[in-house]
């Protein structure tokens, strides 16, 4: 009994699986193939797609909360949160990256929208779009001229520096005085730190609640997740950079071949390589793999990017060969032609804990038919991590069964 769990993928699901398995006493190796969909997250934490969110959100499981606590930098208010998007929408969420402004507790008060020269940020237009309680006001947030064009994440990184944050707080206080109005909170363009969310630190210095609006994918929130993850994992698991290429049964468990470097062995494996966005699943019509003429064989329209004995499917059923050698008509598998489309649901078929066969689990976006929302992904990682830790204790279950 060696108790080894290998987690493939270092996004939200992989991190949750690794932390949970480690907490359960497993010896965890995390294979980190680089940035995926988690780094593109916006900082809004949902359990289901938010227009379908229930009025009274369900409590978060204990293990999931432990993972969030280990990461730090996230808030999960009991009654949910209300966040602002740079598309001009105020939307509900279950929780949020602590740099984002939650307007739920601010109902009825006047909220100031910073007017400043950041790309794509028009404080006046956003205030009008968000609603009556928002009022634009001029504030200096640009200190150096390059900051007028700097990407959000790079700009946010400058506020990791405490002096710089103090400078910003001074400017905002001045601006509040000049605006003279009863502004009770401030919405800023995405800018509040990368290393740690600076929402609270800034709020304390300015004296009113300060926070960001949700940015485009690839903004500061995803990078803040990476930093939080790196800190949380460093003590808990053995982290190996590189890409897993294939997964096969070995004498005493599973063998994970790497694109570069020695293969890894585990008694149980959690595969969390992401879905279509993250790169765990690839759209691969037959025609895309041949140079000319007709492809030699038909193939299902999606494939796994790691070679593993797993079944891709959707709606609980495995993918089938299409009736053409060219590849499926994309119109029939994806939004906006198809609702609840195959491309949205495709993934590895698994049970509720992510179990596929003995000792092999999947988590996160890689799973078929899952909502692909941040907290849901976290929950699947927690479930798979706990189950993998149990399976690894049960003495190389897969190998035992194979024999």
């Amino acid at each position: 009994m060696t108790n080894r769990v290998v987690v493939v993928g270092a996004g939200v699901a992989g991190t949750a699986a690794a932390l949970t398995a480690a907490r359960a006493g497993a010896q965890v190796t995390l294979i980190d193939g680089g940035t995926g969909a988690s780094t593109l997250a916006t900082g809004a934490l949902d359990a289901v797609f938010w227009p379908h969110a229930p009025a009274h959100p369900a409590p978060i499981g204990r293990a999931a909360r432990e993972v969030l606590d280990a990461l730090g930098g996230y808030a999960l208010p009991d009654g949910g949160a209300r966040l602002l998007t740079t598309s001009g929408v105020a939307r509900p969420a279950r929780g949020h990256d602590a740099a984002l402004l939650d307007i739920m507790p601010l109902a009825g008060s006047s909220i100031g929208v910073v007017r400043c020269e950041r790309p794509g940020w028009d404080g006046g237009a956003l205030a009008r779009a968000w609603g009556e309680s928002f009022q634009p006001f001029d504030a200096v947030v640009i200190r150096h001229v390059d900051e007028r064009v700097l990407p959000d994440a790079d700009f946010a990184m400058r506020h990791d520096d405490d002096d710089r944050l103090g400078w910003l707080a001074d400017r905002l206080r001045d601006a509040l005085t000049r605006a003279g109005a009863r502004i009770r909170a401030i919405v800023l363009p995405p800018c509040l730190g990368i290393d740690r969310p600076k929402g609270r630190a800034l709020s304390e210095r300015v004296g009113v609640a300060c926070g960001e609006a949700i940015a485009l994918p690839g903004g500061p929130s995803g990078l803040r997740f990476e930093r939080a993850r790196d800190r949380a994992l460093v003590a808990a698991v053995d982290r190996v950079p590189g890409r897993a290429t294939s997964l096969a049964r070995s004498d005493d468990g599973w063998r994970i071949a790497m694109g570069d470097g020695p293969a890894r062995e585990g008694d149980a494996v959690v595969l969390a390589t992401g879905g279509l966005i993250g790169g765990g699943v690839e759209y691969a019509p037959a025609e895309s793999i041949v140079a000319s003429a007709l492809p030699p064989f038909g193939r299902p329209p999606f494939r796994l990017t790691v070679d593993a004995p797993l079944t891709l499917g959707a709606n609980g059923r495995p993918l089938e060969l299409p009736g053409t050698l060219f590849g499926i008509a994309p119109e029939s598998i994806a939004w906006p032609f198809a609702r609840d489309a195959l491309a949205d649901r495709v993934g590895v078929l698994a049970d509720v804990e992510g179990r596929t066969e003995s000792g092999l689990f999947v988590a996160g976006d890689l799973r078929a038919d899952s909502p692909r929302a941040w907290l849901d992904v976290l929950a699947t990682g927690v479930a798979a991590g706990a189950a993998a830790a149990r399976a690894s204790r049960q003495g190389t279950g897969s190998a035992a069964m194979a024999r």
């Binding site: 969909a37 593109l40 916006t42 809004a44 797609f49 938010w50 227009p51 998007t85 740079t86 598309s87 001009g88 929408v89 939307r91 020269e117 790309p119 794509g120 028009d122 237009a125 009008r128 779009a129 007028r148 064009v149 949700i214 485009l216 994918p217 879905g275 279509l276 966005i277 790169g279 690839e282 759209y283 691969a284 019509p285 025609e287 895309s288 041949v290 140079a291 000319s292 060219f326 008509a329 994309p330 119109e331 994806a334 939004w335 906006p336 032609f337 491309a343 949205d344 692909r372």
Partner: protein, 570 residues
């Protein structure tokens, strides 16, 4: 003047609710229906001759075939053997367009590989001789003479070509942004007093029984956004609605058979970069000639030609058509298979009607139909035509109208007077330096606007020089210019004029901001700006998805996740 009764030319086929309305007070010399290249070309020509003009466009300028062509002002090389005078006039007109809009044209050298076969050698000699004849016309459009290439030359020029060849030839053509050409014609017409109404559909064309000279016809139109009705009296009505021509004729009770077209759908696939610096001709599986061309900062595969029976307001490429083109070009240039397709576009040619011939064998000529023979003197339809010969077609129609209907002797000036901004090409580096934008943004702005780029930048505040669409790129001031001065009302309209959102991200980074700017410019509530953006994103997603490949599938999933995170359901 007593209210005169309205009577349609023939018993009206459509409900004449409009006839209940009082007669419009506005009166113009000529009402033009259709804001494609023919309609805007005629509007400009007639306005330059001093006639008053009103133009009605049901969708947007360049919405149909004009904005969805292969983007070439070509010399009509295919007509050379049967009607060399067409080649000559096409080449001459290409030269004129270079003179009036030099900023809008770019050279596309084409390669035509000749494959090895039993008669390959002979075919090569014949093609060489054919293009030698074409060389005589090239100077008219500042084109280079053709080159004869052996297999090694061809491989050196474009190493991506595969297959055994006898050799190949080069020939020179000019690329153009067809949508901008339409917009510039319309804007110039407006600057000379023409009224141009976009998103305004004509409900009926009726005839005044007794005329007092203030107009023989009443054109009743309706703004499709506001439902506001507007109408004009006109002495002359021009139907320049391309593939819609029979539909338009029916609104005036005219016999459809007189303006019959055989709509031919053509699609193009857009790849995310210039895969080659040469246009490359290839044969599709059915022997049709198709091509891959570098066009602005993308590559374009084209084109199909299939009879079309669908809705002209909603023409879209299908994945089958995309596969046909990709297969046909991959035949000689296999790397198109691994290239990333970021979109498709589709239009319907207003080809002259004939029952029987194959689509490709149909005439690309144009024809003016005088409806006097149908009992409607002063009503003309423009049928057929090509982007490359639009100016000539517009001139023919305008000559006829000016002389016969108004006895105006002012000669045509559309071939000598520059289009707006066409009086020079400012230096992009200087402009970038002076106005604090990147040289790439300056270069693209100058491509689209010529000297008007300077005016756009001079009026721009500092924040309006920020980039709104990073793919193209398009600065905010250009978006505002499109709304203020170029009649754009939706995000799609802005895209047509600026190429905003037509890049690799499919509008993910710019559509919402663009909607916000339009809402601000037009005084709409913010939610309507969002709705305009969603509408664009949705439409673009539909046109992209049919060309879906592995990389674009990831981008689509990411875009969808983004829209869901920031907007909810689209």
């Amino acid at each position: 003047m007593p209210e005169e009764p309205l009577v349609s030319v023939l018993p009206p086929p459509v409900a004449m609710a409009a006839a209940e309305e009082p007669l419009p007070r506005d009166s113009v010399d000529v009402a033009i229906i259709g804001g494609g290249i023919n309609g805007t070309g005629v509007a400009r020509d007639l306005a330059l001759r001093g006639l008053t003009v009103a133009l009605f466009e049901r969708n947007d300028l360049a919405f149909g075939a004009s904005g969805n062509s292969s983007g070439m002002i070509h010399g009509g090389v295919r007509y050379l053997s049967k009607s060399p005078q067409v080649t000559e006039s096409s080449c001459r007109d290409s030269g004129y367009i270079q003179r009036i809009a030099p900023h809008l044209l770019f050279r596309i050298p084409f390669l035509m590989p000749v494959r090895q076969s039993a008669k390959g050698r002979i075919a090569f000699e014949l093609i060489d001789a054919y293009f030698r004849a074409y060389d005589d016309y090239q100077p008219l459009k500042r084109g280079e003479p053709h080159c004869r290439l052996d297999a090694a030359d061809l491989a050196r020029l474009e190493p991506g070509l595969v297959g055994a060849v006898v050799g190949g030839i080069t020939f020179d053509e000019w690329g153009v942004d067809g949508a901008r050409l339409c917009v510039l014609n319309a804007v110039d017409a407006m600057s000379r007093g023409a009224r141009v109404h976009v998103h305004t559909t004509v409900d009926s064309i009726a005839r005044l029984v007794r005329s007092d000279g203030s107009g023989r016809y009443v054109v009743n139109a309706r703004d499709r956004f506001t439902q506001e009705r507007l109408g004009v009296r006109a002495h002359v009505v021009v139907n320049a609605t391309g593939a819609w021509s029979p539909v338009t004729a029916a609104l005036g009770g005219l016999p459809q058979a007189r303006v019959r077209v055989r709509p031919g759908k053509g699609i193009h696939v857009v790849l995310d970069r210039r895969l080659t610096n040469y246009g490359i001709l290839s044969e599709a599986v059915d022997g049709r000639q198709i091509f891959l061309e570098p066009w602005q900062n993308v590559s374009v595969l084209g084109t199909t030609d299939d009879d079309y029976y669908g809705d002209l307001d909603d023409v879209r490429a299908t994945s089958e058509e995309v596969r046909y083109l990709v297969q046909g070009v991959a035949h000689v240039f296999p790397s198109v298979r691994s290239a990333r397709a970021i979109g498709t576009y589709a239009g319907v040619r207003p080809t002259l009607y004939a029952y029987g011939p194959n689509e490709d064998a149909l005439s690309r000529e144009h024809e003016i139909v005088d409806h006097a023979a149908d009992g409607a003197p002063g009503v003309y339809s423009m049928i057929g035509g090509k982007l490359a010969s639009y100016r000539l077609f517009a001139q023919e129609l305008s000559d006829k109208v000016a002389e016969h209907e108004f006895e105006v002797q002012v000669p045509c000036a559309t071939h000598v007077r520059p289009l707006p901004g066409g009086d020079g090409i400012p230096d992009a580096f200087e402009v970038a330096d002076k106005h604090g934008i990147t040289p790439v943004a300056a270069r693209r702005l100058i491509y689209r606007h010529g000297t008007i780029a300077l005016r756009i930048l001079e009026r721009a505040t500092r924040s309006e020089r920020d980039v709104t669409c990073p793919c193209e790129p398009v600065i905010e001031a250009e978006v505002r210019h499109a709304v203020r001065d170029e009649l754009a009302r939706t995000v799609e309209d802005v895209a047509r004029r600026t190429r905003l959102g037509f890049g690799a991200c499919g509008g993910m980074r710019c559509a919402m901001r663009c909607g916000q700017i339009i809402a601000e410019e037009r005084g709409l509530p913010p939610a309507e700006g969002r709705a305009l953006a969603s509408e664009f994103v949705l439409r673009q997603a539909r046109t992209r998805l049919v060309a879906l490949g592995p990389e674009q599938a990831r981008q689509e999933a990411l875009s969808l996740a983004h829209w869901r995170a920031s907007l909810g359901e689209l």
